[in-house]
Amino acid sequence: MTGAADGLLVSRDLSKRFGGLIAMDSLDMAVRPQEILGLIGPNGSGKTTFFNVVTGIYPTSGGVVEFDGKDITNFSPQAVYRAGIARTFQRSRLSLSLSVFDNVMVGNHMRLDQGLWFNLVARKDFKRQFEENFERARDLVKVFDPPLGNRMFEAVGTFPMIDRRRIEICRALISRPKLLLLDEPSAGMTHDETKALMDDILEIKGRLEDLTIIIIEHEMGVIERITDTCVVLNFGQKICEGPYREVAEDRLVQEAYLGIQ
């Protein structure tokens, strides 16, 4: 087991029960700084539950989450975000009726001045902050797709799925989190789109060296290509961890996926 000292995000004995259903069972996990960790497992194995518990959407039923040396167990979603964890959602939760810029800026909440006076009266200062942030948002979006940077003020609902995923990742990245949680970014996309999106993620990872990523993914090609290490869950328990090649060889993992007796 990885020692707690070298983990950016560490969970110890972390559990989540929904009534009688144990969605996550005493999970011990450590994510090393700057790595890309793949979280895999069959449907219902507790991957998204893990994200939801870490980000404070669900309260834990037991156990501890530490981030960057601090105990963040049962922090509110807001506090988790301020601590430096940002995420995307399985069913992309963008606001389709808002513009690209609006959506990205939601992710930048903690860096924006939220005072009423600043927003309503000090419009010159607001303009300055707006322009700075527009540049930042556009630069970030352009890393993913340059043409997208020219369409910052169009409604997200008019964009295809791959662009929505890109925008969602930008929303998570704009606040410069230390840890990015990607919940099935390839869901609903074609093979080629998935490949393009992974290129983007690797490109971003190349630019932001300090960034640590946990990615939930069903496409094993993606996992093989971009992860440094993998954790496999089944029925809420960790059944295996290690680099993808080792994990894929593991008998327990094969049983979990293929049902071999």
Binding site: Q78, R82, L94, S95, V106, Q114, K127
Partner: protein, 382 residues
């Protein structure tokens, strides 16, 4: 530069003339004819791209167009300078728009559906009644006091509204609307069912409720006073709501309305922003109420029924949720139509109900759908 303004000014002139005609004509057949002609003109304009061009005038030359609209209202006011009934209608429209701006802030932006709009309007009215009769508070301050009282009373509802989501918070406000009217009816200090008299507005010795006499036989109806003050308050409220929408605060409200969970995951304090929107909205509604009470000179619980709250909500649905200009259009239609077309006077609620159903079915975003947010009007990325 001027070419962009032309469609906007042209339409403003056309609408002004149309409104004057509509208000001046008495024969029911002529009014019906005008209404049909108006609908056809709007549909035709929409069909041939005229609406888009008018929209561009408003979007690109905002300040100029705001001024044009104010001038248009003043022109109509000038035309009917001695007609009490029509000026009262106009002032009512202006005051209702202010109240609806408040509800729009709550529902259109933060998604808090408030079915007690008329109750908070009533709080403003009763505040004005009590303060004008019992204190020497300057009347402009009483407008503010009406707003503050509505916000304070509204804070009673904050806990139950926050603990419930969407439809359920609406039920909380419905309960409050009903309670409020019953409270007024049984409360003798507030006049009970008979209501209370209210002093007319008086600013620096200028009596708002006296007709303005110029020379020997030239008289201007006193409602013009209220139209002018109403326009000023409206302009302030409009600017306020606009700026709010075009700021990070407006973004926060949209984000939490559309997806509370996602918003929370990006640090938004849902409670703080819902309270902000609810309180500011009630404040605007209360200010409108205080002005209304001073204009009418007398208020009673029957002015603040649940039905009146429903009218406010239907104005927002009809106009375009989140679009302040939509409110102006919808309020004008909903207030003036039943007064002019007496056939529907008795069936006005039936008409409003039918309108809301039709809008929800065929144009769910309202007559004037809300455009995407522009933070700084006229701003272009470098």
């Amino acid at each position: 530069m001027f070419a962009v303004l032309l469609p906007g000014i042209g339409s403003a002139v056309a609408v002004t003339v149309y409104v004057i005609l509509l208000l001046a004509v008495e024969s029911q057949a002529a009014i019906a004819g005008l209404l049909v002609a108006g609908v056809i003109a709007v549909l035709a304009a929409a069909r041939f791209g005229g609406m888009a061009r008018i929209g561009r005038s408003f979007a690109e030359r905002e300040n100029a167009m705001n001024l044009v609209i104010i001038l248009a209202v003043l022109a109509v006011t000038g035309f009917f300078y001695e007609d009490h009934f029509i000026l009262l209608l106009m002032a009512t429209v202006i005051i209702y728009v202010i109240a609806c701006l408040g509800l729009n802030l709550q529902f259109g932006y933060a998604g808090v559906l408030n079915f007690a709009g008329a109750a908070f309007f009533g709080v403003g009215c009763y505040t004005a009644a009590v303060l004008t009769k019992n204190t020497a508070m300057p009347h402009l301050l009483i407008l503010v006091a009406g707003g503050v009282m509505a916000a304070v009373i509204g804070s009673l509802l904050i806990l139950p509204v926050l603990r419930t989501r969407s439809h359920y918070s609406a039920v909380v406000t419905i309960a409050f609307a009903l309670l409020f009217k019953i409270f007024l009816e049984v409360n003798d200090t507030l006049g009970g069912p008979q209501g209370l008299p209210v002093d007319g507005m008086n600013v620096l010795g200028w009596e708002f409720n006296d007709d303005i006499e110029i020379g020997e036989d030239f008289e201007i109806a006193f409602y013009v006073n209220y139209i002018v003050v109403g326009l000023i308050v409206l302009a302030l409220a409009f600017t306020f709501v606009r700026r709010l929408e075009r700021s990070w605060v407006g973004l926060n409200l949209d984000a939490l309305r559309l997806d509370e969970t996602a918003a929370a995951c990006f640090g938004l304090n849902i409670t703080r922003w819902k309270i902000t929107a609810f309180t500011l909205g009630n404040f605007l509604t209360g200010v409108a109420g205080a002005l209304y009470a001073m204009m009418l000179g007398f208020i009673a619980p029957t002015n603040f029924t649940f039905g009146d709250s429903l009218i406010l909500v239907s104005i927002i649905l009809l106009g375009g949720i989140g679009n302040p200009w939509g409110l102006v259009v919808a309020t004008t239609i909903l207030i003036i139509l039943p007064e002019k077309l007496q056939v529907i006077q008795e069936y006005r609620f039936l008409l409003f109900g039918a309108m809301v159903i039709l809008i929800l079915l065929f144009r769910p975003e309202g007559l004037l759908p809300r455009p995407l947010r522009t933070y700084l009007p006229g701003w272009r990325p470098k």
